[in-house]
Symmetry: D2
Subunit: 140 residues, 4 copies
């Protein structure tokens, strides 16, 4: 998949799947958190640290907090654009902010806080290289 | 499914499904929002207003805001208890609060704000009967 | 969760979740495979071999084949009963058959074939104790 | 999203989402049916009949049968290619066949049979225009 960099944000896109709709005829609200995760995946990839490689090397991120404010609804087949950026960075945690649009309409804003864990799920410092890249952002 | 009433909360239980785990070996974070929805379903049922009947009668609830703070992790096969209560009530919206435990360990706390919509997804007042039941709570 | 034994089958129940519906207003078809997995989980539990313990001990089951024939549709809030039984047993694989009903109406029949894997995902024999229990069935 | 036409097949791609993995560290088997549905969506789009428009016009497709034979496993971040084609066409139903590859490795083959329904979920003939396009295929 591809992404764009706009300012400090990495922008990617998903298309609403049939499986993601519910009986109200719109995408079920919990799926927005899956989409935000795709935004994070793409963000880390843009920094040069694909998350699947991070986990393989023993640096896991675990979601400590997740929030979404819904401003609209998205229908099957619509393209949802996810703009992701880092909003805070500490030695053991990082916060991401998200802005979602569906076919150009505002859809939602969201935020997540993740902490770094080792393979035994114990808190650890974010590896130095990754912390540096997160501090510099996608243009760094 | 069954539920208990404890104070102002309705308590129900789910068991972590294999499908809900992710490669960290724990339940994927977005599923907590699905579990909160099950808590809401059970809460409305306890009030005597099964949500499927509400929708059939033209009163939809749509999630405007959702938040979760994660305090632990849940594994496949573990029982997750969801305590749900109403935390705020307005003419067109209602807020729910949730406390989740996994096998007795604190798992997460969450909150959602829902607005009432008609079939065309236009905001409407919460039907009077339901508003009254929400105000009285599960012991009302 | 609870289950019943009827003949050679272990019967358990799920309730259709809002998250499982799609824009046709019925449970999305792929969820039936999740329900069958819950049937398997309950079946193995009835034999005294909870699957989460099997995996912890290094015996994984991986789905090699999955089939479902749909005979009806299930709506949000409806109770779906899943009757699960073993239909074939070999040294390295086991086949399960499923009959699903929604509120007493026939919903679907299904089948899955699973092979035993070790932690490195290499085929292995089904552990002797488990093979014996699978051969005897839930009344064994 | 984009697709290619190869022979009688329409080929599209998904990337394995974190949410789609399970505790075995690979994509959970039921998700393959979601991917096949994305293949169908793309196939119908290639014919000029986006499925979301079909439903809006009162022609629903409902899955009557679904099968998958698994030949490998797919990991988070891997690209899965789905080749979709029509394998049988009747007045009221259509069968699709699928071949899935993950990063070039064979992943699975699958099949689904869908029947046409009207808005009240009663069987109906596949609309003539769509039947014609399905008969001609993506090069038609």
């Amino acid at each position: 998949m591809s992404f764009d960099v706009r300012g400090d944000a990495v922008v990617t896109e998903v298309e609403v799947r049939y499986a993601e709709t519910d009986q109200q005829g719109v995408a079920y609200h919990a799926n927005y958190f899956v989409w935000m995760e795709i935004g994070r995946t793409r963000y880390l990839e843009a920094l040069g640290f694909p998350y699947h490689r991070m986990e393989a090397e023993g640096a896991l991120f675990s979601v400590m907090e997740a929030r979404c404010r819904y401003a609209g609804a998205a229908r099957y087949g619509e393209r949802v654009e996810i703009a992701t950026q880092v909003t805070a960075l500490r030695s053991r945690s990082v916060a991401f902010g998200y802005a979602l649009e569906a076919e150009g309409r505002p859809l939602a804003t969201g935020a997540t806080v993740l902490i770094a864990l080792d393979r035994e799920r114990r808190p650890r410092r974010i590896p130095a290289e990754i912390a540096r890249a997160l501090a510099l952002g996608p243009r760094g």
